[in-house]
Subunit: 198 residues, 2 copies
């Protein structure tokens, strides 16, 4: 299977690429490294990415830039970070990528537990996650040729301890549980689902 991993130089993407590369062809996409560089906040960059990738069987996105910071100083400007990144960036990966994905392929986007379990400083990521989760449910009923779409929605992850203080009460998700969440989406039959590895 040819699997495109967008965000492949990040903590999650690197782990997933390592887990899947034994059995599959992995195309690593990152903003500053990988096999192909792409900036998901730019529609042009996404279009170039797929022109270079060509056809593929699965796309995994772990790329979710968003604004983290205090509510009081949050304005339109800060909010656009997650709007153009985690939200529209990932949605454009699907809107453009559907022209290149093989029949029976799958898209797996990254959301997060903040959708339902908010934490201080994360209103921007929460909104982006909520949009992504609703989007995959809506896109699933319209994609044809057996193409599936899901979101994986972890809480803070084991290998990002720098975020633990921001997520009081959240048991960190192990990298193995995270990997199996993505496995369920990519190799299973589910579509329109929000998979919550815990």
């Amino acid at each position: 299977m040819k699997i495109v991993i967008v965000g492949a130089t990040g903590t999650m993407g690197k782990y997933l690429a390592g887990a899947f590369e034994k059995d599959h062809e992995i195309v690593r996409v990152g903003s500053s490294g990988g096999d192909i560089r792409a900036d998901i906040t730019s529609l042009k960059s996404i279009e170039h990415l797929f022109e270079e990738v060509g056809s593929f069987d699965a796309l995994i996105s772990t790329a979710g830039p968003s604004y983290v910071g205090p509510w009081n100083s949050m304005t339109d400007k800060e909010f656009r970070k997650g709007l153009e990144g985690k939200l529209m960036g990932q949605i454009n990966l699907v809107l453009v990528g559907q022209r290149y994905i093989n029949a029976g392929g799958s898209f797996t986007l990254i959301a997060g537990a903040l959708t339902t379990d908010p934490q201080r400083n994360f209103a921007n990521a929460a909104a982006a996650n909520g949009a992504i989760e609703a989007f995959v449910r809506a896109a699933a009923i319209e994609l044809d040729k057996g193409i599936r779409i899901n979101a994986v929605s972890p809480t803070v992850i084991e290998d990002s301890p720098q975020y633990f203080p921001y997520f009081p009460g959240e048991v960190p998700v192990t990298m193995r549980a995270l990997e199996y969440g993505f496995r369920k989406s990519v190799f299973g039959a589910a579509t329109g689902q929000v998979i919550t590895p815990r």
Copy 2:
């Protein structure tokens, strides 16, 4: 109570203004009419709106422009209609409006059942709704001075029969149930809730 209704010339906003005007001071805001005109897709217009309104006790938004149309021709361009309208427009009403709202006041935004019950042609509205619902949960834990925020999430409404064919299986929400959903948010004590009038 001074209640600002954004979307006051639309079907929902007009009804709510009529229901609440007996007991409250209503400021009707519309894109093409009302006491004050404002375009919620423009941050400048929102800033001017609040300069004109001054302090207030409750803001109701029923303003949710989004793109309705077939999945196959949906691109970044179409998707931005809901992104700038129902999503960022409403979020900017809160980000800017919080500087003008009185202590103990409330924001009530409009979402919709498409968040969890998608229908064909509505992926854009679904994503916007999902973002709004997650946003109110996140904003509720950061707003101070007793300021509350909720979303009302109806399915298709009784007075918009032109939409019935797009929502097979959805029992239309009566205008009375819709009104009571907004009453719960504006006059009750709930915050961070998605109220689903049915």
